[in-house]
Symmetry: C2
């Protein structure tokens, strides 16, 4: 199951409300992150089901013609989306096991991740756990949630999760990194359909009932879905569930939360620049320089900048402030320029 309904502006101006990150041709070969996620799923699963937004149904089908597509009439966060997927699978395969993959992440080592997921699936089938993927941290990142683990209780490379923790501040992140007990929560899960719907029925009963009714055809998604509580699966289920485990993974994972992550995906040239389109970089290094539509982008003497021209917008931002694209998005909204979003 691929979570592909998000819309986001963290990669604005390439990502827009109508064209989210996972549908952009960001991969070095011109492919999309969604396409990569579908291939990722096919390594470990027999069927691929994508939950997406109604507005993205056509683009999603074009990228993944082999997948089953379930469209949400409105976004209701991940608890509802996973519930809808599980209820849809339950109709034909009540004993099924899901691997949940976000559509917009990058993984350098796909074979490594497949092995991690297989290990998680093994634990699900053996012990009916909820299996997560815990990325071994490489730095004290404050932008991710963490999994606190019990490494001393590891068995077959599977580690019990003691608790889910929210994005920490810098000092806490450094403690997490030093402890060796904390992993990044990558938002990838293995879980049986039966267990997931059971947890939902316990913690979010209205959602569990609604998604089952929608899947059975006895309720209209357009009517019922908008009434569901908008809450993440982490908050609704994971933080309360027993028997949650994780498989530590060092697979070159990145959630591409900002333009600063793009060099990891696309690589850099001999000057440390990541370029796309017609770019002339003079005395410039460590930049992300992307342009489209036969517009040339020329730089002189600039370092560690992100410059992206996409359609009718240009972004220039310091790489170490790449998260602050949201402030441009806010400013555009505030100034009546939302047509650029």
């Amino acid at each position: 199951m691929i979570l592909g309904g998000g819309s986001g502006t963290r990669l604005w101006p390439a990502s827009r409300k109508a064209l989210p990150k996972h549908l952009l041709p960001l991969m070095p070969d011109g492919g999309t992150l969604l396409g990569a996620a579908v291939a990722r799923g096919q390594r470990v699963a027999q069927h691929v089901l994508i939950v997406t937004a109604e507005s993205q149904r056509e683009m999603t089908a074009a990228v993944a013609p082999q997948a089953t597509i379930v469209a949400e009439p409105v976004g209701r966060n991940t608890a509802a989306a996973l519930g809808l997927a599980a209820a849809t699978i339950e109709v034909t395969d009540p004993e099924g096991v899901m691997v949940v993959l976000p559509a917009d992440h990058f993984v350098a080592d796909e074979a490594g991740l497949a092995a991690v997921l297989e290990r998680g699936l093994g634990a699900v089938e053996r012990d009916d756990v909820i299996g997560t993927v815990g990325i071994t941290p490489t730095h004290p990142e404050t932008g991710y949630g963490y999994l606190e683990t019990e490494p001393e209780a590891a068995r077959h490379g599977v580690v019990p999760v003691k608790r889910f923790v929210e994005k920490p501040d810098r000092a806490t992140a450094e403690l997490y990194l030093a402890s060796g007990r904390f992993l990044w929560n990558a938002g990838m899960f293995c879980v049986s359909v039966r267990r997931l719907l059971g947890e939902l029925a316990e913690h979010l009963p209205a959602t569990a009932a609604a998604v089952r009714a929608i899947a059975a055809g006895t309720a209209s998604a357009a009517e019922v879905y908008p009434t569901l509580r908008s809450i993440s699966i982490d908050h609704a289920v994971m933080e309360h569930a027993e028997r949650v485990v994780t498989v530590p993974a060092s697979v070159g994972w990145d959630d591409l939360g900002s333009w600063a992550a793009v060099p990891a995906l696309r690589g850099t040239d001999e000057h440390g620049n990541t370029v796309a389109g017609t770019v002339v970089a003079v005395d410039s290094s460590g930049n992300v320089l992307m342009t489209d539509d036969d517009t040339v982008l020329a730089t002189v003497g600039v370092n560690d900048l992100i410059v992206v021209k996409s359609g009718n917008a240009i972004l220039v931002i310091r790489k170490d402030q790449a998260q602050e694209v949201r402030r441009v998005v806010e400013a555009l909204s505030a100034r009546g320029l939302a047509r650029y979003l």
Copy 2:
């Protein structure tokens, strides 16, 4: 007489081979530098004659319908252009006096400059000198030529010029500034038609004969003009002429030799940014930010940059390296991308 035939890429990507700086809508009111130069000339002269390139004849006529336009079939530098203008004027007014103004300079204090030019014209009529405009230097600029003067011999605000000096290195420029004897050569002159053609006949006789034949209609400009020597009026005449004077001027003059000069022309907002078009600047100061065609330009956390989007090109350059646009121009040529010039 306005020298308006230049093509340049120092303000690339706004200026292009087909659209030089003086025809761009750079003025705060959307007007052109050429338009400002025509108005400048009209303050002190009865007629305005513009020497321009054949390829710019139509655009020039559109900006200055009241001017006489003389088109050069090819550019042959300023000695030939001034000669052609003088010979053209000589046909109807052999006793005429010319004020020579570059088309692509900016002057903040037009009334002040008019007074300076009137003073120069008075000296021309009184003593048949060549009168120049000497800009009082504000910093040790290495990008301009200088006039060495004899301030102790000043009379009525008119100062003898001892010699023309080329662009100095930094140390020399500092000596010039400290001495109080050196002024910037602004490329503006007052001279009688008779004297200018006499000097040309002495120092560049083939050119003098050719421009007179073209003006008289006894030679074809298309045939003769390309054979003329390409040399500046400074090198051909000024550096050798006797009785050259200058009128010191502090009039907010700028030759707009790079994007770094644009704030002087267009002003800055409360964050020290000079903006044009739809611009969103977050935590950004001291920048020149210009865009066109309804393309939004958004910046976050950048300082002292020049970012210009014009047509099918974007330039990002550090303000203190603004002269280095030429390296982009060279790189575009070298990479077969001259269509962007």
